[in-house]
């Protein structure tokens, strides 16, 4: 019976972890910046790290594709000095020099001399950030759990770069679009399952931005249980039990010849029986950036709302 106890303990433990993260997050909300010293100010990023950043950053870049999109939305283009191999939006970014972020190309980034680097928690490791810090390149981590966190992130970038007005313009226009898309639908809510991999079956978990995007559409993530990993592996039985109304992961034809060919048992789910199977744009699903509203619009078209 001790096994049950262990499993129970783990769930409790993760609940506790989530709680701590939430509390920490709230604590981070009130970001204090200290008065400038020698042209530098001390700021606290979304993960609670205290870093020294230039008062007037002139050479910036991002180590994650979504963060690059954020910079392009707020910063002046000529202050952006580079991109990673995965940054491909907006189109102009492709003209910027490439810095490999995995494995981190330290020489190249030193060569480009950025005075402030933005990234997203989970994309850049603490080890890489520490090493960049040693090279006098401050790394500012951002963290996004909700759609509104992205707006806050844009505002933070605006403040650090003294582009508050530009940031506010972007936030306002995104906010207006979002308000137009928003649907406060009464129950029953459509339950949507988004898969990222077939073997084993990995899905967008409850603690991902995807869950919050669906909330704006009066729909919900079919995965309601909170797992330790944001993209948990599920069994076929678990998905049968979830019985999602909508399945995201590929076009119906693709899914028919791959997913449902491999797991014919899952043809019993509502999404398959009612032909509610769609292929969301990968970059929109995975990048927490200013195109989040575009992503919600795409989801809305799938839900036919």
């Amino acid at each position: 019976m001790s096994i049950f106890a262990i499993s129970f303990f783990y769930r409790r433990f993760y609940f506790f972890l989530v709680l701590i993260t939430l509390v920490l997050n709230l604590a981070c909300e009130s970001k204090k910046t200290s008065p400038p010293q020698n042209g530098f100010i001390l700021v606290t990023d979304d993960t609670g790290r205290k870093i020294k950043v230039p008062q007037n950053p002139q050479r910036i870049m991002a180590l994650a594709p979504s963060a690059t999109e954020m910079l392009y939305a707020v910063a002046e283009e000529n202050t952006i000095v580079g991109r990673t191999q995965n940054c491909d939006y907006p189109d102009q970014v492709k003209e910027k020099p490439v810095v490999n972020n995995y494995p981190m190309d330290y020489e190249k980034i030193v060569l480009l001399k950025p005075d402030l680097v933005f990234t997203v928690e989970g994309i850049t490791s603490a080890e890489v950030a520490a090493k960049l810090q040693d090279l006098n390149i401050p790394v500012y981590f951002q963290k996004f759990e909700k759609v509104t966190d992205i707006f806050r992130g844009l505002r933070d970038i605006g403040r650090l770069l003294h582009r508050e007005k530009a940031a506010q313009r972007v936030i306002d226009s995104l906010g207006t679009e979002l308000a137009q898309l928003r649907i406060n639908k009464a129950s029953p809510k459509l339950r949507v399952l988004a898969i990222t991999w077939h073997d084993p079956i990995f899905v967008f978990g409850q603690n991902t931005l995807f869950t919050d995007k669906l909330r704006y559409l009066g729909a919900e993530n079919a995965v309601t249980e909170i797992f330790a990993q944001p993209y948990p592996a599920l069994t076929r039985e678990y998905i049968l039990k979830l019985n999602p109304d909508v399945l995201l992961g590929g076009t119906p034809a693709e899914m028919e010849t791959t997913f449902f060919q491999q797991y014919p048992e899952l043809k019993k789910i509502n999404a398959y029986r009612h032909k509610k199977i769609f292929a969301p744009t990968d970059n929109l699903m995975s990048r927490p950036g200013p195109r989040v509203v575009e992503s919600i619009r795409e989801l809305k078209s799938f839900l036919a709302l």
Partner: protein, 334 residues
């Protein structure tokens, strides 16, 4: 008499473990539900469907893979006359992992005409590498055990490096985790139509070696004495090798390379029944299956719903037990 009792006990435990396993999953299922699902299966009942179409094949796959690997390990240890041998010394596991990883990472086809290819590439990798190791390990039509061991180790190390390369180059985090599941084992893709292959392989192998058990036991005394006692050593070794290749190949292609079971279960078997008992082979397969089912159930209880990669559990449980066995019994390999 005592040995027969042990054997029946293990058989009973296999049944009990299977029944327990059938009750665990996302849908709540009582023992009455399980009995009903088995005796009066109704495909429209979700609980019945989950028990018969998802849980039962998974348990059977664990049973067959555990049995095949333990049995292969037993043969392998007898063949190279070395207590440290396991079915993977032929490079089978690294070959299979490499084949699967290349397919998952998109370096070769991932699917073709609706067929999901990693298991097929794993099977191909397993057989190609095994053939290569055997080719390096024999001279003048004779298998040279020490040379075979060294060839296996060399080729495996090389392939492990290649696997590392493909893992590193694989694009997404999901691909990375998928490769991890493959190289540590997972019963998640179990399906009724996959089961006949390992089942037939294991049944034929058990039948065959039931008649060759005397030769097997004499081989433990060393090849030279076996020859003087009239055992056709070369032919027996080829048969053992072929059997191990096929059983291990099927196992790793279906479940990935689950570690440790092929090493420890043969030792447990000999610890229970003695070095040369006539029920040894059968018991070894049963114990392997029992152990594997138990590990799979445990992995799903600890980390629901999909479970941890199974190799982690087999090592966690297997190694301490193995050490206990070594310390407690005055047990010797030969």
């Amino acid at each position: 008499m005592k040995q027969a009792f042990i054997f029946l006990m293990v058989l009973f435990l296999v049944g009990l473990m299977a029944f327990w396993g059938l009750s665990i999953g996302s849908f709540k299922a009582s023992y009455t539900d399980i009995m009903q699902a088995l005796l009066h299966y109704n495909p429209d009942n979700q609980v019945h469907f989950a028990i018969v179409q998802l849980r039962l094949p998974r348990l059977l796959l664990a049973l067959l893979v555990g049995g095949s690997l333990a049995f292969s390990g037993y043969l392998m240890q007898a063949m190279v006359n070395n207590a440290l041998a396991d079915p993977y010394i032929l490079g089978t596991a690294s070959g299979a992992s490499l084949g699967a990883a290349m397919s998952i990472g998109g370096f070769i086809l991932t699917s073709w005409g609706g067929l999901y290819l990693p298991p097929l590439f794993a099977l191909a990798g397993a057989f190609l590498v095994t053939l290569l190791v055997i080719a390096l390990g024999y001279r003048k039509g004779q298998i040279i055990p020490s040379q075979l061991l060294l060839a296996g180790i060399a080729v495996s190390s090389f392939l492990t490096a290649l696997l590392g390369l493909f893992t590193f180059l694989s694009g997404s985090e999901s691909a990375l985790r998928s490769i991890l599941f493959w190289s540590m084992g997972d019963f998640g893709r179990a399906d009724w139509h996959l089961l006949p292959y390992p089942a037939a392989g294991l049944a034929i192998a058990l039948g065959l070696f039931f008649f060759l058990q005397k030769e097997l036991n004499i081989l433990l005394l060393g090849a030279e004495r076996a020859v003087t006692l009239g055992v056709p050593v070369a032919r027996t070794r080829w048969l053992m090798l072929a059997t191990v290749s096929v059983l291990t190949g099927f196992s790793v292609a279906l479940a990935g390379s689950v570690g440790f079971v092929g090493l420890i279960i043969p030792h447990v078997t000999r610890g229970l029944l003695g070095l040369t008992h006539k029920l040894n082979l059968l018991l070894c397969a049963l114990l392997g299956g029992l152990f594997m089912m138990g590990c799979d159930i445990l992995s799903r209880l600890i980390y629901p719903p999909a479970g941890l990669p199974i190799g982690i559990i087999t090592s966690f449980i297997g190694v301490p037990f193995f050490v206990y066995l070594l310390l407690k019994k005055s047990y010797k390999f030969n």
